[in-house]
């Protein structure tokens, strides 16, 4: 920017006191310049990685890459930190092709460019290959109701299966602080105690085949987008064409309203989520293995197998709605009597916990 149209009131960076401040950090309200921002942004993520011992030297790590802002910044920052601090990690990009024309095919082009830009090998797994159905075909069959349930359940497994194919030790995802605060609220709104206790963990699934972790757990969405903008990172930003997502949308908007009034609210909600104690009388689902495909499941069949069975038999309603073992029959009856619409756990395209 030429000096001739700089604003009269130029504020200097709170950290270096030399350069012009370029943004206000939501976390600290400090006004800092671009260069100092890159430094603190990257350093904080490094500290989160070190403090939580997210990685061990020599590990193979898959980055769940959608082509969107969060995973693009994650891939960029992680390869940078891996070099700078000698993590000794082998990094891979892992993408899921849900088979959504005009959405995922475009965003996968972004991931393919990231593969070249960051020099990270890319693996794409598709719903068509794994399940025999694309999301386009599923929507043609079941319409625009519950399609996000199919997509969410299938994506979770697809990432695990892709990670197994890559023989990685861990999967990292780009979930940021705003996402996690939003999920805490949603799990409270749904009374989903099992997910509420899990959703703030920085690492999950340590007992399963492939643990997942979220290096951006404390990173504000605003800073991720600012970072991507200042660094001119190449990301894709289109809403999924099948995702109405009203319930999550309200929660998101509420979080953003709170953030505007008091940016710390986001970290405080995460803190509240972390500090909840689950009472011992709350029945938690027991983890077992799907009798059909061997994937982790708390039921006889995993959710993906139940949904697929429904699709393949022309009974797409099968597996829709909540059923958590016999103990929940009572609750299910109440719901049916009231005629309430069930809101199943994983509604949103890019988010699952």
């Amino acid at each position: 920017m030429e000096g001739n149209h700089e604003k009269a009131r130029v504020r200097l960076c709170y950290l270096c006191n030399q350069r012009r401040a370029a943004l206000k950090r939501p976390k600290t309200l400090e006004q800092i310049c671009r260069e100092c921002f890159y430094e603190v942004f990257e350093e904080e993520i490094h500290q989160v990685i070190v403090k939580n011992q997210l990685f061990k030297p020599g590990e193979r790590i898959a980055i769940g890459a959608s082509g969107g802002k969060d995973s693009t910044v994650l891939a960029y920052v992680l390869s940078e930190l891996n070099r700078r601090h000698n993590y000794g990690l082998d990094l891979f990009l892992l993408s899921v092709d849900e088979g959504i024309t005009g959405y995922r095919d475009d965003s996968l082009e972004t991931v393919k460019r990231n593969e070249l830009q960051y020099g990270l090998p890319l693996k794409i797994v598709s719903y068509k290959d794994l399940y025999g159905w694309t999301m386009d075909e599923i929507v043609k069959t079941i319409g625009l109701k519950n399609n996000c349930t199919f997509c969410g359940v299938f994506r979770r497994q697809a990432l695990d299966r892709g990670a197994a194919l890559l023989k990685v030790d861990k999967l990292v995802t780009g979930h940021n602080a705003d996402d996690i605060a939003e999920t805490v609220l949603l799990n409270i709104l749904r009374g989903d105690i099992a997910r509420l206790s899990r959703c703030t963990s920085i690492t999950t699934g340590e007992d399963g085949p492939i643990p997942r972790c979220k290096p951006f757990k404390y990173t504000y969405e605003k800073e991720i987008v600012m970072y991507a903008y200042f660094k001119r990172l190449d990301y894709f930003s289109t809403e999924c064409i099948y995702s109405p997502n009203a319930y999550r949308g309200f929660a998101r908007e509420f979080i953003k309203d709170l953030e505007r009034m008091r940016p710390r609210a986001i970290l405080d909600i995460i803190k509240s989520g972390e500090d909840f104690r689950i009472s011992t009388s709350t029945k938690m689902p027991e983890q077992g293995i799907c009798e059909r495909c061997g994937y982790i499941s708390s039921q006889k069949w995993c959710k993906a197998c139940v949904l697929l069975e429904g699709l393949n038999k022309g009974l797409p309603k099968l597996g829709i709605g909540r059923s958590r073992g016999l103990d929940n029959n009572h609750r299910k009856d109440v719901k049916q009597i009231n005629g309430t619409k069930n809101i199943e756990g994983k509604q949103c395209g890019s988010l699952d916990f």
Binding site: A22, Q31, S66, H175, V225, Y229, S237
Partner: protein, 99 residues
């Protein structure tokens, strides 16, 4: 007043998928200067083609939309009160799309 407007993060979809708009904004006659508050109203009327509620809420941008004036976060320059000058570059980025 000649300004360059840039829409990103999915906001470009609200204006025919065009990201960069070179515009000429005529300031209100009574006021001698143009502020971001005035510009938002002008943009909603003249640039946004659909779903204006994705861009604005009340008299400001929708929470979750980032604004930069000459590559500087508008939270540093007074948000709605930020004065605009000839050839300023104003960037709007949505953080609400995709992940």
């Amino acid at each position: 007043m000649q300004l360059t407007l840039e829409f990103g993060g999915g906001l470009e979809l609200l204006c025919d998928s065009v990201k960069i708009h070179d515009v000429n904004v005529i300031p209100n006659l009574e006021a001698d200067k143009l502020t971001m508050k005035d510009l938002l109203v002008w943009v909603r009327t003249n640039v946004i083609k659909e779903r204006p509620e994705m861009f604005m809420k009340d008299d400001s941008v929708r929470p979750g939309v980032l604004v930069l004036v000459n590559d500087c976060d508008w939270e540093l320059s007074g948000q709605l009160d930020t004065p605009l000058e000839e050839k300023d570059v104003v960037v709007f980025i949505s953080t609400l799309h995709g992940g």
